[in-house]
């Protein structure tokens, strides 16, 4: 599922980028630092080390989730200012549990967790650091996290499908690799608190579906 989504995302990127490649060379110059508005589409693969590590460890046996995503970015709104929206989809399986004395007892009932954070953020892209045009950037914004929890044992009313709001900050570096194509790496942090949590969150006194993120990105300017 995750792999298919990543391939699809790359295809979308390729499609969206194609008209730009068809343009002439001066267009590339116009898109240089400090000039007019730019539009960028990107795909990424993200790893998130969960803030609620005890809960995730108990239910999934893991403290880090990962998955593909993508987004769009409008650049040079004013000098280095950009805004962007991105979406990541992370799916993990585990088992329903009962937590007793901080120990998780698995009940043998499969569980699937899907986290889909949608980040809407603004940031600042700095002057390239070196002649290799390594561009640092940083930003912050809001996140709406769509959370889904399903199990084979669920009746129609028993699954969880909810949205939570939170904050995101991030910083990264990108390097142009070929014409309008850049690659980059980014680290970030999300905080998405679940109000009145139950389940493992309640047992471990945790409430944050966020955590520290790391992204590898492939972007293309239009």
């Amino acid at each position: 599922m995750t792999g298919r989504l990543f391939v699809l995302m790359c295809a979308v990127l390729a499609w969206s980028a194609a008209p730009a490649w068809a343009q002439d060379a001066p267009a590339l110059k116009k898109a240089s630092w400090g000039s007019q508005l730019g539009l960028r589409a990107f795909g990424h693969f993200e790893w998130q080390t969960m803030a609620a590590k005890d809960s995730f460890e108990a239910v999934t046996g893991k403290t880090r989730l990962q998955g593909p995503g993508g987004g769009i970015e409008v650049q040079k709104l004013w000098r280095g200012v950009f805004v962007r929206a991105s979406l990541t989809r992370m799916v993990e399986t585990g088992e329903r549990v009962f937590v007793f004395n901080n120990e998780a007892i698995s009940l043998g009932i499969p569980l699937e967790i899907t986290l889909t954070p949608i980040d809407v953020a603004a940031g600042w892209r700095l002057t390239p650091l070196t002649s290799r045009r390594i561009v640092p950037y940083a930003g912050a914004g809001l996140v709406v996290l769509k959370y889904k929890e399903t199990s084979d044992a669920d009746a129609s009313t028993e699954g969880v499908s909810e949205s939570y709001k939170g904050l995101v900050i991030f910083a990264g570096l990108e390097v142009p690799v070929w014409r309008r194509v850049s690659v980059g790496g980014e680290v970030g942090w999300r905080q998405v608190n679940v109000p009145d949590p139950g389940g493992a969150f309640e047992a471990f006194n945790e409430k944050d579906l966020g955590g520290v993120t790391m992204r590898l990105m492939l972007s293309i300017r239009r």
Partner: protein
């Protein structure tokens, strides 16, 4: 004591006629078991008679005594010498580490226990209390109406765990008949002692292969038999065979039942008296469940593979022996469900051993609710009540408000009218009481253990955490944490809900 004749009756081809489930036809074969020995001596029988006659809740002349750590034989002798009868330590029947049953020979067991308690070598002593089965018998002529399982959403719970396979539940009670046999027991027929053929049969709605490791602690060394019906009803709620197109369902219908007989019924007493040559009938309220037997059975269950114990018994006298036994059972990985008592309208006294529940993580005192989830009129209340389950309430729900299971056909052995009883036919039996509530929790515990929750303390925590809050918000003295929710507990928890 006697050579009893056993006849294996045909177990196949049971019939259901006019609400009566019976074993048809004559015995098809016979076998002679090793001659069982009765476990109650004439002196103890006399003491039980006295208890019934005097309305005592203990066995006259018997004391439970626990010595302090490190007490030597000489010190035990010294402590026992404080009694007028000066019993030798050889008369101590050990029922647990440092704990023994002592037949003092003194009629006033309360005074004897008080005397022993004052001795420096003794940690505690008390009479050998007689517990009573905590059920209120009801009319037997109504059909199967298991509102209790609907109330608990059991069909959906069974979707998650189909019946608690792999778990053994010890039913410490009046026994659960584990043999199809006819015994020649002596009894009083109104004019003389005669040998009567008394047939016993396994309930056709209880797969005999799931009756395992039973033991009789009070009546005899033979197969476990139930001549009262309470244990059979309780075992039915725990694990009645289900999906067999017959009779009733049970909470943990794939679990095994370990029938441990610790209670003497009217008929047990009658037989023991006649075997001892005592003429006449005992009092209708004869019998009970000696603390010494109950404690021994708890330890036996824990040592022999049971993972859940149901104790639908209770009395109003405290005994640290219960607490020791409960702690031992839990330490061996055994969860214990106990009835909270039926004496709300009789002064609402504290019930033992249930009141030790809150002190033992892994043992729960169970109160009763009726069909509407209201507290049953009889269900005792107090700080010791930890959880609630269906126990029936015929006052608010009519006769269909009882808890129904397949039970021994009462008309066959009603002590008030029957002279020569039989115990091999089964019918619909409706009963109410915390005795009926407790096996719901025991059955639920078996399901949870089968689902992977092995720690008795965790089982208790899960049952409490998922209960439906009733009465005052939060824990209260009527319902404890609330009404059990087996499906919710079996589902457990996800990440955020």
């Amino acid at each position: 004591m006697t050579a009893s004749t056993a006849r294996v009756t045909a177990a196949a081809g049971v019939c259901l006629l006019a609400g009566l489930i019976s074993f048809p036809g004559a015995p098809i074969s016979a076998q002679q078991p090793a001659a069982p020995q009765f476990l109650t001596t004439p002196a103890q029988l006399e003491a039980l008679d006295q208890a019934a006659a005097r309305g005592l809740d203990y066995i006259p002349g018997e004391v439970i005594v626990k010595f302090r750590v490190g007490v030597t034989l000489a010190q035990q002798t010294r402590a026992l010498s404080s009694l007028r009868s000066r019993p030798e330590p050889g008369r101590l029947e050990w029922i647990a580490d440092r704990t023994a049953r002592l037949v003092t020979g003194e009629p006033d067991a309360v005074a004897a226990a008080a005397n022993l308690t004052r001795q420096p070598e003794v940690e505690y002593a008390h009479p050998n209390w007689l517990l009573k089965a905590k059920a209120v018998p009801n009319d037997t002529q109504y059909g199967a109406r298991q509102w209790n399982f609907t109330l608990l959403d059991m069909p959906r719970a069974w979707d998650i765990n189909a019946g608690g396979a792999g778990i053994t539940v010890a039913v410490i009670d009046t026994g659960v008949t584990s043999v199809n046999a006819t015994y020649g027991f002596k009894t009083w027929n109104g004019t003389e002692i005669v040998t009567a053929q008394m047939p016993f049969g396994i309930s056709p709605d209880m797969d005999s292969a799931r009756l395992t490791g039973g033991r009789d602690f009070v009546f005899w060394t033979g197969a476990v038999i139930d001549s009262q019906g309470h244990g059979t009803h309780v075992a039915g709620t725990v694990a009645q065979t289900t999906n067999n197109s017959l009779g009733y369902a049970g909470m943990a219908y794939n679990a095994k039942i370990m029938p441990l007989k610790v209670c003497l019924s009217f008929w047990d007493i009658q037989i023991l008296r006649a075997e001892a040559g005592v003429t006449g009938y005992p009092s209708l309220n004869s019998g009970g469940c000696p603390t010494s037997a109950v404690v021994s059975a708890i330890r036996y269950a824990a040592d022999n593979g049971a993972k859940v114990i149901n104790l639908s018994l209770g009395g109003t006298n405290p005994s640290p022996t219960y607490l020791d036994a409960l702690n031992y059972a839990v330490s061996q990985g055994v969860f214990v469900a106990m009835s909270a008592g039926n004496e709300f309208e009789d002064g609402n006294p504290t019930t033992y051993p249930a009141s030790y529940g809150p002190q033992v993580a892994g043992a729960m005192a169970v109160g009763a609710v009726g069909r509407t989830s209201e507290r049953s009129f009889y269900s005792s209340t107090g700080t010791f009540v930890e959880i609630a389950a269906p126990g029936g309430d015929t006052r608010s729900g009519g006769s269909v408000g009882a808890v129904y299971q397949a039970g021994i056909f009462f008309t066959d052995f009603n002590p008030a009218v029957v002279i020569l009883p039989r115990f091999d036919r089964y019918s619909d039996v409706g009963s109410q009481g915390t005795s009926m509530a407790s096996p719901h929790v025991a059955g639920m515990a078996a399901l949870l253990m089968s689902q992977g929750v092995k720690n008795p303390a965790a089982v208790e925590a899960l049952i409490a955490a998922t209960a439906k809050d009733l009465g005052d918000a939060g824990r209260d003295n009527s319902f404890g944490a609330g009404l059990i929710q087996p499906r919710v507990a079996l589902r457990g928890f996800g990440l955020v809900r």
